[in-house]
């Protein structure tokens, strides 16, 4: 999945676009609000879906080398999150959809 296609599919707002965002092909998705669960995931080209709107999501994403983070439910994102996305050069998207609907749409896109 291309990040552009993901953004359109889940009606997401691009909060920060990483420098390599156009070259990345997302092959793996993990969904969690508990960061320790995310740290167990060892998959390349990873996208993290979370309803946790803190900069720890970005810190965790950096550690597992994730390419993109999607925050659901149109949560408010604080300045620190945006700064961390910039610092670690990770694409940060925000969608109005719930976790379930976001995942369902991503699954559709992956099956295409």
């Amino acid at each position: 999945m291309r990040i552009n296609d993901i953004q359109k599919k889940i009606d997401a707002e691009v909060i920060f676009k990483a420098t390599d965002a156009d070259d990345i092909n997302i092959n793996n998705v993990t969904v969690s609000d508990l960061m320790s669960d995310v740290l167990v995931v060892d998959e390349p080209e990873l996208l993290i879906v979370s309803s946790l709107a803190t900069d720890q999501v970005l810190r965790t994403a950096d550690i597992v080398c994730a390419s993109c983070v999607v925050i659901v439910n149109e949560k408010n994102l604080n300045q620190q999150m945006i700064e961390r996305a910039e610092e670690f050069d990770i694409t940060l998207l925000r969608t109005p959809h719930t976790t379930f609907k976001t995942c369902a749409k991503l699954n559709e896109l992956m099956s295409e």
Partner: protein, 299 residues
Amino acid sequence: MDKSITPKNPPLIFMEMVYKMRIKDVMTTPPVTVTRRQTIRDAKNIMKEKQITGMPVAENNRLFGVISMDDIIQALELNQLDDPVEKHMVTNVVVLEQDMPVSMGISYFGKYNFRRFPVLDHNNILVGIITSRDINTSLLQELLKEINKLEDNSELQPDQMSLTKKYNTNKYDFEHAGRAANDIKKFMKSKHRNPKNIRRVAVAAYELEMNQVVHSDGGTIRFILTSEKVEIIADDVGPGIDNLEEALVEGFSTANEWIRSLGFGAGMGLVNVQRVADEFDIKSSKENGTTVHAVINLF
């Protein structure tokens, strides 16, 4: 023993530093002063209050001399504490100019037997005072900065060098938590380490850091990096883990709802560290807090 500040064959960095830094960068400004007409008793009281051992005698920033503890002791012996300062001050004063390099200050302290030098600007206006302590403190701070830069740029050679990095954590400081893990990842990446190993080190560091932020009253995360392995030592100040066996069970956590709402307390922390580490050891007591030692081999 040679007690001068400058070593015989000083490293280039040191020489650059003492020529680059100016007297005005290290002097104390504005200086504490006394006037000619004030009494020796006044001077003694000012020195006592300001905890100094000497000061310039000046009026309207014009320098007339220097009065020191030695002069006051002499006046005291002669029972002349009510004399004006000008009667006992030293007038053949050696001064430094504020735009001179610090190297000049260092050589003055070696050359003259004074413990302080008044500092003037190019119009001969008194702008500060400098002691060897001012120079030492500033040099040490600059040296620390340079050493930090060197550490960041140093290449690790097999068996020749180990590098230590240390980070502090504070209770519930979620804003800075994770910094150690992100930093160490960035550092190892810059040294072109194997990505799998970088990830293992970062995961262990992050979990240990979070454990300290969530469960302890604060602590430190230390990394000892060599070409063969990375050791992580997480030391906290307490309060210690009640039941170590339980703490190492997957899914067990004493974190409350608030912590969980922040994304932590899945009961996976120590389990994750064990999973990525080649060696793992944990000690905990009420008196000494908790120490976790994790080793990640780089081969």
